[in-house]
Amino acid sequence: MQLIACPWCGPREELEFSYGGQAHVAYPADPAGLTDEQWARYVFFRDNPKGPFAERWAHSAGCRRWFTAVRDTRTHQFVSVGPLAGSEATP
């Protein structure tokens, strides 16, 4: 049971959080302008690195806010956490 440091609430147990996959995968500006393959890449394909990985997490059973975390996939250690780019508040 890892501790994850929510940028707003501080360290809480991992079961309070839900995982949101790779961070910084923006919704395409013009989906209709994409080829089927480009669209499929957006919907179905994500990176799977061995090492630091920028991910989205949500503090579902806490403040319910999403944040970005860099986690080392080899050790599960959280390297850093921070608010989402463009979110209106900072902790």
Binding site: Y27, P31, W39, V43, S60
Partner: protein, 915 residues
Amino acid sequence: MSRIEGYGRVDRSRTVTVTVDGTEYTGHPGDTLASVLLAHDARPLGTSVKFGRPRGIGAAWVEDPTGLVQIEEPFPEPMVLASTVEITDGLVARGVNGQGRLSDVADVARYDHRHVHCDVLVVGAGPAGLTAARRAARDGLDVVLVDDRPEPGGTLTGTETIDGRPSREFVADVVAELAADPRVTHLQRTTAFGHYDDGLVLALERRERGASRQRVHRIRAARVVIAAGAIERPVVFEDDDRPGVMLASAARDFLHRHGVLAGREVVVFTSDDAAYSAAVDLHDAGAAVRVLDARARVPEVWARRCAERGIEVSADTQVHGTLGDDRVTAALVGAERREVPCDLLLVSGGWNPTVHLFTHVGGRLGWDPALGAFRPAAPLPGVEVVGAADGTLDLAGCLRQAGGADAPHAEEEHGEPTMVLWRTAGEPARQFVDLQRDATVADIARAVGAGMRSVEHVKRYTTIGTAHDQGKTSGVVASGITAELLGRPIEDLGTTTFRPPYTPVAFAALAGRARGDLYDPVRTTAIHDRHVAAGAEFEDVGQWKRARHYPQPGEDMTAAVLRECAAVRTGVGILDGSTLGKIDVRGPDAAVLLDRLYTNMMSSLKVGRVRYGVMCGNDGMVFDDGTVLRLADDRFLVTTTTGNAAPVLDWMEEWLQTEWPDLRVRLTSVTEQLSIFAVAGPRSRDVVGAVFADLDVGNDAFGFMSWQDTALDGVPVRLARISFSGELAFEVAVSSWYAPALWDRLIEAGRPYGITPYGTETMHVLRAEKGYPIIGQDTDGTVSPHDLGLGWAVSRKKPDFLGRRSFARPQNQDLLRKQLVSLLPVDAATRLPEGSQIVHLAEDGRLPAPPVPMLGHVTSSYHSAALARPFALALVKGGRERIGEVVGVPVGGELVAAQIGDTVLVDPEGARRDG
């Protein structure tokens, strides 16, 4: 009787009586079952699992591989170690012959959990642990100290000297200092059994008093100090499993803790120094002792002490076997197998640091040749290992390592290094390695012969280390013997992985209070008691209890549902729909957000109107559906399916926060705040009109898919013309505080019309007759709105919404996609089981030759009162093109013919919805 005057810390002023295998024994408070049995020279406890060989007490604590008992009274408990059972009056136990058995009596004891946070957790209250805890406490830290034994002090017998005083006085002083410190929690009888990420340790407390029998402490510590000591390891020889063969330290433990001399004629076989203290102590307590040291050099200081006492010491001497029937009568010494009579054969092959908690969190071990054992090889952040657990076996070193600047002092002892000796010469098939599993050196040889090269494989092949003790004494020995047989150094092989729990933990303790009604939260609606009073049968929908149907005397579910369906289609029924998810969507950009989330256009919805909406994932597959009420320009009320209430809110939040943080919208769950009742049927207008007399409920004033606010005795109520049955219907919503009163008024007003409460089963039938899909029942995550015939709910005007781009993928254009259709069994009698496969029939109406092509499956199936026959909904490949076709459905070995039809079977022209 082997109780020795002047020894032990049991309370001899009081007597405790226990019964083992039908015989009564007396002991004293402080005794264990094992010490009582040894005090009475009792017979062996049981027999081994495979060969039925006699089994007795092999050690004094949790490492014992043999002394298993079944507790019958005061509480049935299978397979526990006699060495760990503290006796109480009336305790009844049996030895275990072969396997234990589960109790057939329910466990009525209470178990609970406690969350603890601290700066430092110290595991083990031996000299190192006590010293470490005292040091942390003096630094002003919050300290938790746990120890699995009944009393603190670890293996200190009282014969040692610390800071110039008897060691037990040192223990008493430290314990008193810790007890006086409000920042210290000190728990004995508490086993730290698992160590997890970021300083989380689970510890099981065996409680003597309090409401619960056992308590799991969930300790989150900034720093974990592991001072768990070390476990003596045996040397393997022929017939080393006979009762009377025991770890040397155990005999010393029984003597100093319990005042019990485990034998009168003692042979000590050792390859290290520690066993000498057992030899000397047992001699001083009255036993005849001789020492056989496998090493060529006997340690000087011990040779002198033995000589002073007349204890014969033989160097370079090994035990090769034993004699005896029920218990050992002689050791067979040397290659010539010289008989040396004894009733107790003590063995010591060195010490294995208790590194379990260190390895649980990924700590790596290394072989220490000087120590002759595996010990922590590299530090872990936030974890400290001190004392014998780190391989520091001498008392002075333990105190120094744990104590820092004000470490207590003990005299240094200088001896000879441990000789690593895994086994002596003998017949491998009778050299027992894991005494609980009856696994021998021959089994390891067989594993190696079969090609096993890893100790993990050898463990699984031989089962060594898989019993209740998890190889506490046998694991490393098995590694050593495997290494010898492979001709490789043991450091190349390592040990098997130690996993939690360190000692067995009852499931009841892990469950704590989360059993029965408290296992999972149960959600009931505000009028649950009305359903109970009406005789409802309930079904679980997520955590909700929903009324499924309301059987009257003599009715089964089929009969009740047919009656309820008929009531709604011909009169009026009422359904508690309060479990529907409800989300309040508020803000200037609320309409923009909903336009992006729903397939249909929501921004064009007028205040006062209601629209059915479908949500898809990015893959274009249906995720949820429900109604959307526009309450104001900047405010909507969204409903979701019962099971998807939380996921839909999460989904909306995710997009709002992560992708469109510029939208000014707030989302609030109001599922529990708002109760909703559906009043449905041709007479529903009469009922609603009677309750809300000042509201015009006529079709012109209150049209389909519109809502109106009113009040009842000053309580706000919202009504909406929404129908999930095809009948004229009103959804009546009120704050859940007033739900019971509103329900009662509706029932009362409906009495003249025979208003009938109906449950979820009836709701399912009514909606299926109209072809309305239930997301999650008729869909499975691979179904698009078009597959469901909901293309009309997909906007062509909006440039984009979630899922839209996927509709253009070629896979979505495939004419052979599975589509929702109805199925009518041709015999008009068979109810097709949900989940049944649908197959293409051959020309002759029989099953075609294999492989039989599958066309789809039945998703919903019911008896219909309106149609007076069974019917089903199904997902069928290219289903809409096949309307009219007859297909086959295998049911219990028979092939049932069924005709594919349009989904709307009742009132296809929609004439009934306005009454």
